[in-house]
Subunit: 400 residues, 2 copies
Amino acid sequence: MTKRMAGNNRFLKEFNQTVILDMIRVHKAISRAELSKLTGLSPTAAGVIVNELLEMGYITESGIGESKGGRRPVLIELRPGSLYSIGIDMDVNYISLVLMDSTSRIIEEKMLAMPRTLIFEKVMKVIQHEVKNTINKYYLDTDRLLGIGFSVPGMVDSRECKVIFAPNMGWENVDIKQHFTELPDIKVYVENEAMASAIGENWIGCCQEISNFVCVNIKSGVGSGIFINGKPYRGANGITGEIGHMVVDPNGLKCRCGNYGCLETKTSSSYMVEQAKKLVKEGIASKLNDIEDIEEITAKSIIDSAKAGDEAARNILLDAARFLGLAISNIVNILNPQKIVLGKEFINYSDIVLDHLKEIVMLKALRQSSKDIEITESMLGERASALGSAIIPLKVFFGK
Amino acid sequence: MTKRMAGNNRFLKEFNQTVILDMIRVHKAISRAELSKLTGLSPTAAGVIVNELLEMGYITESGIGESKGGRRPVLIELRPGSLYSIGIDMDVNYISLVLMDSTSRIIEEKMLAMPRTLIFEKVMKVIQHEVKNTINKYYLDTDRLLGIGFSVPGMVDSRECKVIFAPNMGWENVDIKQHFTELPDIKVYVENEAMASAIGENWIGCCQEISNFVCVNIKSGVGSGIFINGKPYRGANGITGEIGHMVVDPNGLKCRCGNYGCLETKTSSSYMVEQAKKLVKEGIASKLNDIEDIEEITAKSIIDSAKAGDEAARNILLDAARFLGLAISNIVNILNPQKIVLGKEFINYSDIVLDHLKEIVMLKALRQSSKDIEITESMLGERASALGSAIIPLKVFFGK
């Protein structure tokens, strides 16, 4: 009984510490008196917890606040560099690594090109090497590393830390935790890349005060991360937001999922490249600006050509945006979110298509569902998933 | 300060009563000792609350439970007929009224045919007359009437108790509370008909233990009610689940929302009737069984013809189900719900099309999203919205 009570007390102590820490995080700088007032804990109890956190080095006294009568209070804030988190965004031809501290300050951000043919085991080896380099470079104490978040372009089982299916990576049923052997004591988390972006937007991006929103990422594939009531929405099996396989044209092309006319076959970067090659081959577009070899056409070259005034390239982007707008209007009719954030490759041609896409949504979605919707490009840009994956261990630490 | 404390104590007392009442509801019959154990309240405190509730007549001692050593305990249950609720389902050509008690027992259920041309004010007059008749018939004490729930086929503002837009009824911005003048002290609630069905399925139907599900109702229109994490999902403006206006065929017919190729133009009863008339006119279908006058074709006659073996009628239903399956596979990909319940008119031809619809969903939705999905017809049938609307005041009473 005594032992159990001790256990419960310990739990409550940690719970109180977490609540106080998160309150300091949200308020950025706050006095002991305000913490006592906001938590309902007595000034003494709040003071004890603050002292414990100071002793652990998680927080610091940062300055003097404004007086509300009497002595001006000492303000407390999270101590920069006291606790760390690492995020890894895995993609078809690159890996991004972000080192962040508990104040969400970015300490290091790097991108590594990866050959598309690399098998999962090799990718994990490269990542472990990079993580160790980063730890050594900054003399990080691994006790202060809250965890490593992985972002994967595919379906994941975030509870079991596994990748269920990532077709663009060629991965099926691979266990990230099992292959992360070099630092066995570090907590590892796995998230779908679009959900990782949504987590990033919610923590440090454009959805910080927003409960119901959808982040749509456009790249070689198309996916979305859905937040409902302020939390990632996971459904029955954790496979949600698969907007890329929404059928937008029942008579359309075959998709790699086996179906016909999925959004991915209309709006992904790979589709746009196929479309451009076809137009050039058929002589409908002479050539996209000064690309000589048809096989050299990439999403980037289409976007560059469109920006340089090439009508055919521009139309490819607008056509893709039209179908994306159609799919988003379906999402608006079903989920009536407050905000839609468009990310990844999209931000590179957002200036050309965003207005057109908004028009489509306003035209296609029910007026009552769409009247207050905000549709915007991601401010975190292509970094959203890497940042979001670094934030996952922070969310756990702050009890969010 | 003393007054505020008294207020808080009063609030806490009501809160405790509500928790205990809901526990009795969920367990159906439960002893004082079990209530104390489950709530963490002391046996004395739990006993005090039980006695208060007995005194108010909300609960009753019902029998003797099994002994767990010692005296066999007295069991407590909700007292049938102690508290009432009324539900009204308003539709194009009928009104359904349900009188229910707090045990979810149905005391009266009636359906009134309504001329389609009747204006809102007249409909409200008829309803008030019926409500008063019902109250008089059962000698109901209006103090014991928990409230009246209205179910409307359209967009509602459930917080403000208004109908925003119900195109099939011809209603826009009408205030139900304001027109319900005969019983000004009775609490009034308004809900969309598909959400009312979902509430019904969750309380007494086939989704009682299910957190994430979607009820799709097919009639003259097509709508859906979405439950997420065990609660109705309302989004930013309360306009969610508008599956009827999901674009399933970008080259399709014009919908009454102004858009083209919405699901409603493919799968609603009114569309099926149009389709049948067209086929007969064009001589593709000779005639639907023995319907002589083309203008007499109704959804019912199509269903009857299909059941009697008419191929053309059967194909109309299967074709409608194909598009419904397509829309549902989109919902499955986005929301990954545990269950989809199909209701209203659909249950009358479910035996002909449900297997086909399931095949489409299995074919079109991503395997990982659809593998555990259950797709079923509503067991509450066409009554789901009327029952659900009667349940709304009960949910409020039980703090749900």
